[in-house]
Amino acid sequence: MNKSTIVVGGGIAGMTAAGELSRLGVEVTLVEQEQISGGHAACWDRLFPTRRPAEEVISFLREQTDSKVNTFSGRPVTEILHHESMFTATLSDGTILRGESLVLATGYDLFDASRKEEYGYGIYDNVITSAELEGWFKNHQPVRTKNGRIPSRVAFIHCVGSRDEKVGNLYCSKVCCITGVKQAIEVKEALPACDVYSFYMDLRMFDRNFEELYFEAQKNYGINFIRGRLSECSENEDHTLVVKTEDTLTGKPMKMIVDLVVLLVGFVPRSQNTQMLLKLKLITGNDGFLQPEDEHNGDNLTRIPGLFITGAVKGPVTIANAVADARATALQVYSFLHSNR
């Protein structure tokens, strides 16, 4: 009997699930909308907390999938149908894929920082996102202001688009705190003379070695952590930036002039998923991410037998957790395919 599955999304979770299922002898088709697989992680230089190159993780996963899994890349899925216990995925070029089961691993979008207009992203020259900074590191681009100056002060702004009712996102994006700590260290390493400041509400160093890195950042790198949520940014004539906040530990309003502002943008649900998922009548939570059937004992299951969800499509997740989740999903898919449906 032919056991087949379609994995939609070639990021960390999708690749892991596809690789595991392929090893278990399932006929896997992996669909990735970009030309290159790896998802958001492919844009990363080094990963928190150990600062290991992201490339290592991705090439491991590529070895698991390349030549073992039937892969369609550079083509997004436009429609998913479920009919008589068969799944049909239509790609943008008209290709139709069929499978007995389907794994949704479509991931997340980054929060559009221009929606937090008061921080001036897209308006002021020297306000960038954490994703852009990571891109600079990856491409070995030096950390400079728009007009090429070496910044003498850099400010990291935590929780941009996360834990913020004003933009409608109440949830925590989990990875930004530690990303901010990692990137602050990296900026300091690249520019030892530069003062680096981090403005935070509170730092959630929840996972293994996170707290250690935060300590290191203060002790060894002299990163200044200031507890205060940024109220607004404004731009001076010379394109330096004024950040306004309240230092809530001293209880005083404060302003600081900096050369570069890095906004730590969080996760948002994928907007292009919406129509597709509406047709499948999958349930989303108040945060807009997909809701599993059972948050404890069935967190990869959906209301449709044979349709599984994995990774950041269910909400913010670290790479390590996405890998673990995808492996668990692969096992669920395997037992589904071998059950007496």
Binding site: E117, E118, I123, E232, S234, E235, K252, K255
Partner: protein, 623 residues
């Protein structure tokens, strides 16, 4: 012959009580007007022209109910039948009674119960004359008219949608008693007159006589006794209605007359509760027109709409929470048929009830270093939407306007958010600081990007200079040819911010401006009927989810017209709508700036503006 019977007592006593009670209340309200308003009142009642104007308005609004007609013809008919019908019934009944009594001095009850008293007159003698027959006809016609209105009133409680209303007001006990007795008055009169006419076989009109004959034939009881009982019933329901009236919503009937006089004498709402406020509060008929249009419905709030808030004020149990549960958008004021300033009343109560810790702004000190003809005050909300400020600066550079950006680096709040919270004393500390800054800058014209600031500059600052919202300022620049614009061929819908539209009556300037470079769509809920974005600073009792429901409701309405861009002229509206991510939201200034041909924009570094630092002494300049 003495025209008296015991049954007239309930009516007469009730009427006496009502007159005394209204007299006492009117006296109280007039004497508790503010000193300025008292002067206006005493000079007003001596001015025959003002009296005539007021009487005309009383005729159109209290009797004809012109505004109700405009709203819904069925509603208008219903109100007019009660008001005008009953009024004419009293007036014509009085005239009719004089033919029978032959004197001008009748007891007040005599015309009311005329048909009871005149049956023993020489009826046949009168029958030969046309005049009594005319009256008999007209009085029946009026009664029929009122009864048709009564039928509608009954239907309205069951099928309010037919009257253009989804919701009807929840009434109090006194309202129910008054309503029941009011509804009973006219059927009782019909029965009493019919039975009497039936018993005597004459004396009725086209309706009461045949009905009376029929009833006499069908009711197996002594007709004279039934008729007499009916007269007792008629008098009783009248008496009970009169006694309940001052404690029910029907108090609006006499009070609205006084309110119309007050208004025509130039009396306006004040900042503190006065006799005028009392008059407005008692003029509320609880018609419920303000219910359906309230956006708080969308957020599941149903206890704080204008009608309920005013009821609570009248009953003196309004809570701080209810006073703060309102967008203060002003939509209810626009539709109120009586013209009650519910927003002003709301703020009065907030001032009275405001509790909690009061901030002290005495630490703020200000000084300015530059002067300029055009002073630009972007407002603290615009600091959260820097694209607006950047556009304004770019436009002023293109237009060659030399300006001073007063709140470029440090801003002092205009004071309106505090005023909306009922904290006027603290607000006026800030007002004084800003006034000094504006005076010192020797501004000839003050331009702001924020309608909230604009309104408070206009209403509270008493500045001897021109004050403009940037919609007006930019329109003048475009009209004078200082800013070249190229059409952007986009379908744009304009959202009126509450404080610029209903608050300051600036409706046309933004539309004319947008019309110069875009395809401006017309929306259903615009101008004075515009919806609030939901972000109101005046609302203290809604959480983010409730606000989102109101915002999405407003967006649903605006997006029906398929705009490519939602334009507004308020940074708060922009942020509130922008949060939902459903359509690009842009301020007028941004759109104007985008429409300037590229070649005309100089680099931002060539700014005419000079950095400006009013010193806020105690603000920590850290690091």
């Amino acid at each position: 012959m003495i025209n008296f019977n015991l049954f007239v007592l309930p009516f007469s006593l009730g009427l006496l009580y009502l007159i005394l009670k209204i007299g006492k209340d009117w006296y109280k309200w007039i004497t508790t007007l503010s000193p300025v308003d008292k002067v206006k009142f005493t000079s007003g009642i001596r001015n025959p022209i003002q009296i005539l104007i007021s009487l005309k308005e009383v005729f159109f609004e209290v009797l004809i109910h012109r505004k109700m007609w405009k709203r819904n013809p069925l509603l208008g008919y219903m109100h007019m039948s009660f008001a005008l019908g009953w009024f004419l019934l009293i007036v014509l009944g009085n005239i009719e009674s004089r033919f029978y009594s032959g004197t001008h001095l009748n007891a007040p009850y005599y015309p009311i119960f005329l048909k009871f008293f005149i049956h023993d007159k020489l009826v046949i003698f009168f029958e030969v004359y046309a005049v009594p027959r005319f009256f008999r006809f007209i009085m029946d016609l009026l009664l029929l008219y009122i009864l048709s209105g009564l039928l509608l009133a009954f239907l309205k409680r069951k099928k309010s949608k037919w009257f253009g209303m989804k919701q009807v007001t929840r009434y109090q006990l006194t309202d129910h008693v008054a309503l029941t007795t009011l509804w009973l008055i006219f059927p009782m009169r019909l029965l009493a007159e019919s039975f009497t006419a039936g018993y005597y076989g004459s004396g009725g009109g086209f309706m009461t006589q045949p009905l009376g004959n029929f009833l006499t034939w069908i009711v197996p009881l002594p007709t004279d006794l039934v008729a007499y009982t009916m007269w007792w019933g008629y008098s009783l329901v009248l008496g009970i209605f009169f006694v309940t009236l001052p404690y029910s919503r029907y108090m609006h009937i006499p009070t609205e007359v006084l309110l119309i006089f007050f208004r025509n004498f130039g009396i306006k709402p004040k900042k503190w509760y006065s006799g005028y406020s009392d008059t407005e509060v008692h003029s509320c008929s609880r018609c419920g027109v303000c219910l359906d249009i309230c956006q708080m419905n969308l957020a599941g709030i149903h206890d704080s709409q204008a009608v309920y808030f005013i009821r609570d004020v009248r009953d003196k149990y309004v809570s701080e929470q209810i006073s703060r549960k309102c967008l203060v958008c002003g939509r209810c004021q626009e539709v109120c048929p009586v013209g009650i300033h519910s927003d002003s009343l709301r703020l009065i109560k907030r001032r009275e009830l405001s509790s909690g810790q009061d901030a002290d702004y005495s630490f703020v000190s200000v000084s300015t270093v530059r002067t300029a003809e055009v002073v630009y005050f972007s407002g603290c909300m615009s600091h959260l939407t820097p694209s607006i400020i950047r556009s304004m600066k770019g436009i002023m550079e293109v237009a060659g306007v030399s300006y001073l950006h007063l709140d470029e680096n440090r801003s002092i709040c205009c004071g309106r958010p505090l005023m909306l919270a009922g904290k006027d004393r603290q607000a006026h500390d800030l007002v004084e600081f800003n006034k000094k800054l504006i005076r010192d800058a020797r501004a000839g014209i003050l331009v702001t990007s924020c309608p909230i600031c604009y309104r408070v500059f206009k209403e509270e600052y008493n500045l001897p200079i021109r004050i403009q919202h940037h919609a007006q300022f930019l329109l003048e620049l475009v009209r004078s040819g200082k800013i070249p614009l190229q059409s952007m061929h986009r379908r744009i819908i304009y959202h009126d911010p509450c404080d610029l539209g209903r608050g300051s009556h600036v409706y046309e300037a933004p539309r004319e401006l947008l019309g110069k470079f875009s395809d401006l769509l017309i929306s259903k809920e615009e101008k004075n009927n515009a919806l609030c974005c939901g972000g109101s600073l005046g609302m203290f009792e809604a959480d983010h989810q409730q606000r989102d429901l109101m915002t999405n409701g407003a967006l649903d309405s605006l997006l029906t017209f398929g705009p490519e861009i939602l334009a507004t002229s308020c940074p708060l509206c922009k942020k509130t709508f922008g949060k939902m991510n459903r359509v690009p939201v842009k301020d007028l200034a941004e759109l104007v700036f985008e429409s300037i041909p590229d070649g005309r924009i100089r680099s931002a570094s060539g700014s005419v503006s000079v950095p400006f630092h009013p010193e806020l002494s105690s603000e920590a300049e850290s690091i």
